[in-house]
Symmetry: C2
Subunit: 296 residues, 2 copies
Amino acid sequence: MDLNAYLKEQRARVDKALDSYLPGEDVLPTSLHKAMRYSTFAAGKRIRPILVLAACEAVGGSIDSVMPAACAMEMIHTYSLIHDDLPAMDDDDFRRGRPTCHKVYGEALAILAGDALLTEAFILLSRLGTDNSVSVEIARRVIATISRCAGSMGMVGGQVVDMDSEGKDIDLATLEYIHTRKTGALILASVQSGALLGGATEVQVEALGRYAKAAGLAFQVADDILDIVGDQQLLGKDVGSDQERGKATYPALLGLEAARDRARELRDVALASLDRFDERAEPLRSIAHYIVDRSF
Amino acid sequence: MDLNAYLKEQRARVDKALDSYLPGEDVLPTSLHKAMRYSTFAAGKRIRPILVLAACEAVGGSIDSVMPAACAMEMIHTYSLIHDDLPAMDDDDFRRGRPTCHKVYGEALAILAGDALLTEAFILLSRLGTDNSVSVEIARRVIATISRCAGSMGMVGGQVVDMDSEGKDIDLATLEYIHTRKTGALILASVQSGALLGGATEVQVEALGRYAKAAGLAFQVADDILDIVGDQQLLGKDVGSDQERGKATYPALLGLEAARDRARELRDVALASLDRFDERAEPLRSIAHYIVDRSF
């Protein structure tokens, strides 16, 4: 399949839906809604929402009914970037080639825009099931899954351990603890939500969970590799910033070549998890290839 | 009724439930869970969760089934205090007589503890309906109500306008815009959630909504009055801090006596909303009296 065309099409759908779900810039308080939109429409890859859609497709579900969940995942991701970039956290001035939210709107509004985006995600999620396309019980499970993956034992927890580990020598187990939570948890939640809302069986949810865990970790290994060998222009962020900060990365712990092997190995685990799926899982397969290949 | 005894008993119940719902201090990442617990167990009045319980009781519901919602409201309230106290926001060193979260745990962890508490609230809310004490559809409506009230057009929005208004001359309409959102929205969400989960009819939900709006605003008017005439020791925060910051308040806009009249008037609206409720609404009535009387 033509993955680029697929990603482009899905990205356009997600962007359109995000635009329709987020309060307009003219809605009071306008400064808040501007800040929320500024960071949401900052040329993100929309990986998480696209995974929601692709997982839903893989089990034969309808894309329209999962769009609120897809956009909720992107809002949670965006809130986490806004807060991560704050001076008290990573203190980043640029993100995706543009000034970060707090550089444009100030720290206070950036904190609140992040808070509001996280909350907006749950406003959206509470719409699931109201159009009878999915049962309310499935909608409830999706909210449970997403909130757990985003919370203190998921994404936020991973961020804390990542922060605590800066400048320290950490082992591979700690690095994987961080990544399975900091980035992996939202990817897992995206895939599982799409599957649940698409009508997956329990066996399918489980298989797609394995796919997501492997693909999520592969994504992070690839990201670490890109921080060393990537193109600053293409990435829209500073290359070598992990090293400068003394951050533990896969290449730093394993060496560049072994890190690449690890990425390939994880890709293969992800692909094997999809063995029993038909051609409707092709986007998920291509995404697993794409995640790893972009780091070469 | 003996309101103090009632509040004390409910507070103990809420504290016990919060303790059981929040991850323990020994759960990884321990620093995060310590920070979340530090701010949650900072001698709060537990007004919002008690309103959830009292509204549930007023319509004849069972308290146990609404405890997750009650605790979720307290977590959302606590997260908002942690973020409000940050240097980029109100820059407060003390809250309820103790050092604020960021003074103890640092800014980064305070931001993340707030994020995690907000997320934890939705983890808890996704439990509603799993024990069959309420329908999943009612649980969904509760999540919709709470997220809306906490979001960009509710609490967070109120905080933004409040921030924008500091040091400016604002009129009564703007002041009420701020308060109906910044504090009023969570009080409304608490009462409506308790009512919905307690099995209220639509008419009852509507009446209790009127009660909550009036009581919520009365609470804020009383708070403004207390900032001028209150006892620093009892409040656990600086008296006169609103004036110092050039914050608009009811006494500043209306004068102290007219502000007191407004508080009484709002109390009476709240009480009138309960006309058709029986003695099970006594706690709600006493709370309306208590809110206003504490400012005299």
